[in-house]
């Protein structure tokens, strides 16, 4: 989900993460401010056109949208029923545009660069007692933990299946939680073992 980065040397790859994130935030907010189907369509086409500019294939663009198709279908059907066809098309196209835009940023920006500039941008919090370097570390760790948690859950679920407990949420969730806390304790040892001083 998050290891989306697709190595490349396009203009969008070389552009700093700061401007990209800012554009994404402005673009996203803009799409919500202008409730109009033509603008949403224009935004969708413009964003899709940036994919080849970044050296990305249509297949990669499609891969961002595909897992969400069923949500689009539900939104479309409901909005059609509640508020008519135009609104339904508008809502789905706007959502697709937003997802393509966000994915474009993640596809062309290395997570470490994203975190570095986020850490930098959070420098203004320093007077309030926040430490941007620590925020950066916690962001990296969070991104690192997500796949590990998914894997632990998978392992525990398999173990419980052999005991016929796969339908019990608690039989999965509790061991996952306990293993996870153990992992957190180990990883904070590991971070200190690698020379990190809080």
């Amino acid at each position: 989900m998050l290891d989306l980065y697709s190595p490349g040397t396009s203009y969008l790859h070389r552009l700093g993460p700061g401007p990209k994130i800012l554009t994404m935030m402005l673009g996203g907010t803009g799409l919500f401010l202008f409730d109009s189907l033509p603008i949403a369509c224009a935004a969708f086409i413009a964003i899709a056109a940036l994919y080849p500019v970044a050296g990305l294939t249509a297949k990669q663009a499609w891969a961002q949208i595909r897992p969400l198709l069923w949500i689009f279908a539900i939104f479309f059907a409901l909005q059609w029923w509640l508020s008519g066809l135009t609104t339904a098309a508008f809502v789905v196209i706007r959502l697709a545009a937003l997802i393509l835009l966000a994915s474009l940023v993640t596809l062309t920006t290395r997570a470490s660069d994203m975190i570095d500039s986020l850490t930098h941008a959070l420098g203004f919090l320093r007077p309030f007692g926040a430490n941007p370097a620590k925020i950066g570390l916690s962001i990296s760790l969070a991104l690192r933990f997500i796949p590990v948690l998914a894997q632990i859950t998978q392992e525990v679920r398999e173990a419980q299946k052999t005991r016929g407990l796969e339908r019990s949420v608690i039989a999965t969730a509790l061991p996952v939680a306990i293993r996870t806390i153990k992992m957190a304790d180990d990883i904070s040892d590991a971070i200190e073992a690698r020379g990190y001083r809080p």
Partner: protein
């Protein structure tokens, strides 16, 4: 802040993201917040990691969502979600987690019958108190209508409160020093 706190903050932000991998139940399009497993992450952040770490974990999570990572159930992310009907609920997550952490911090050895209402207070009452007025404002609904709609979410949230209580008590028995 020590290394361990940083790790716990990251862990509970990640846990909430991982819970988003379970498919959400969405029954009224963009107009209503979907039912997701993610609010269980909010409750556990408060009840296991404590007020400060849990609150900061949820703050980290919504910051990651805001910069565009697709961490919300159904792969949603970006600033747009805060402008939507469920934006208020999201913004309430850090407050909810902190309230739960604060309450449980005052009675860490609480039994089920005491802990469950604490989690319910932070995870349902506090969250709805922020989320419902926001939803009413964004969707242009009268407040009473918004409250009525949200009643549909209460049973699911109660199930999550029970799960969170059982998990928290189990983890706290395994790690009394938490």
């Amino acid at each position: 802040m020590d290394t361990k706190s940083i790790v716990y903050i990251a862990l509970f932000a990640a846990l909430t993201a991982a819970l988003g991998l379970m498919p959400p139940i969405s029954f009224a399009g963009l107009a209503l917040p979907p039912i997701t497993a993610q609010s269980l992450g909010v409750m556990l952040a408060g009840s296991i990691a404590g007020a400060r770490r849990g609150g900061l974990a949820m703050l980290l999570f919504i910051a990651l969502v805001a910069v565009g990572l697709p961490l919300l159930a159904g792969g949603r992310g970006g600033f747009g979600v805060f402008a939507g009907a469920s934006g208020g609920f999201l913004l309430a997550w850090p407050i909810s987690a902190a309230v739960i952490g604060y309450l449980i911090g005052r009675a860490p050895a609480a039994g089920f019958t005491l802990m469950a209402p604490m989690i319910a207070f932070g995870g349902i009452i506090v969250m709805y108190a922020v989320g419902i007025p926001w939803m009413a404002a964004v969707a242009g609904l009268p407040l009473t209508k918004a409250v009525t709609i949200m009643l549909a979410y209460v049973p699911g949230d109660l199930v999550k409160v029970i799960l969170a209580t059982i998990i928290t008590r189990g983890v706290r028995r395994a790690y009394p020093a938490l």
